[in-house]
């Protein structure tokens, strides 16, 4: 198969990651066959293997479905610990993982809490509690 016959990816992984640092959009993909919404780059649906995912901008608000407070961070987050690592279920479907530097204690966050994506000019998908999130990070 020549490269021009391969399914096109709407964006590169690098473009997705850079968009997180610049305040969005939160890029995602939707499977027209099964309806899966994913925040992970790929060429085929991870659930039904359909080839031909379509670009889908993810909502920037949702609720925490699981989280941990990390006191021993990875090397890119050395000066940020402690912080929360979160799995967020986005309004309208799809889940995305991210980090919350504003959470400094284990009881500083609860499952089910509403959060919003914020612009950080730092690596990764950064969230803040919806009540605390600055306007700069809000979706247009």
């Amino acid at each position: 198969m020549s490269s021009d016959l391969l399914p096109a990816a709407p964006h590169t992984v690098e473009e997705w990651v850079r968009s997180y640092e610049g305040g969005g959009p939160l890029r995602g993909l939707r499977c027209p066959a099964c309806g899966l919404i994913t925040a992970t780059w790929g060429l085929a649906c991870p659930r039904c293997a359909h080839i031909g995912l379509v670009e889908h901008e993810l909502p920037q608000v949702g609720k925490v479905v699981a989280f941990t407070l990390l006191t021993v961070p990875g090397d890119e987050f050395l000066n940020d610990a402690p912080y929360a690592y979160v799995v967020v279920e986005l309004d309208g479907g799809g889940r995305i993982t991210g980090w919350m530097p504003s959470v400094k204690t284990v009881d500083g966050l609860t499952i089910g809490e509403r959060v919003r994506f914020v612009s950080s000019y730092r690596p990764g998908v950064q969230f803040a509690r919806e009540s605390e999130a600055p306007d700069a990070g809000r979706a247009a």
Binding site: T68, V72, P73, G74, V106
Partner: protein
Amino acid sequence: MRETWVVGAASNRFGKMKETGREAATRVSLAAIEASGLSPKDIGYTFVSNCFGIAEHQAHVGPLINGGLGIPEVPSCTIESACSSSSAALHEAFVQVAGGFVDAALVVGAEKLSHLDTLAATSYFATAADYAFETKNGATFPGLYATLASAYLAAHPTTPEMLGAIAVKNHANAARNPHAHFQKEISMATYLSSPIIASPLRLYDCCPFSDGAAAVVVAAKEFVKSPRSEPLVVRASARAGSITEMQDRPDLLGLPASQTAGAKAFRQAHMEPRDIDFAEVHDCFTIAEALALEDLGFFPRGQGARAAMDGLTTRDGKLPVNSSGGLKAKGHPVSATGVSQVVEVFEQFNGLAPGREVPRTQTALTHNVGATGGSCSVHIFSRR
């Protein structure tokens, strides 16, 4: 398919090695071959795992090991599947031997990371997650498993003492295992007073960074005329994969790859969970043992975490789990872990586990996970 046996096994002591991974791998390989009663010249293929060999500035270590064993002409292949690397290598060796391509194969895993500081070692481990979509979002390995623990605790009534009982049990077993990194028991009070690393996981919920090496020899029944030791008959060798990223998993209350690989293995072996006498499962964190027991069908959903506290998985329990001490206390030299689980089965079958014997040794299961479940291997063994 030919009946395939594990005929020899060896491990060094996990912890901090002075020698290189290459030296340790060669040493345990020769010990495993000697234990099998075969000679290096009988080996038809060598499968090597050395996931983080690059940390020692060494890739393509297979030919170096074979050269050190006096069999440089034997083909070798490096298998990488994160923490399940050497169980993946065992699967490939099984395929070669059972399929009749070679009569005997060597499987060896080795890892050395102790020359790195904790930050560097943590970062090496994190490369097995999705770098762009997990690590760049702040994930570490304890963090990823802690996130699973958070989901588990939200879904099932779970006390700190339940996870603590897993740590206490596995330390008690490791205290009786000369291969173990931590050969000391811990009390529940010690567990509960240990610091939080990634909530809700404490220091004593986490496996250590360990150096180590382990090897097994796999051979066709028809090739081994008179085995030196009681062989392990490979009843099943199954692998499975699943979505790596937690953001795309339908639920966080188990590892789909464990469920799939376990079901495949039980089908291959024509067995059910109740037929297994003891198990070595992937307990890189205490929550991982709980999930494994549920994913493999040994306990219902929500009951895996309390099994140790209820005495069901201690050496004298209904299903002894991690009699070696597990990754949690025996240690977790990433690429040696999968094979070292089989070393424990070999030692239990051959009466080579004094002080930590399990009461029934007709059948055993090993379960080895790659990273947070992107890969999984399950093997089932029995006596002849």
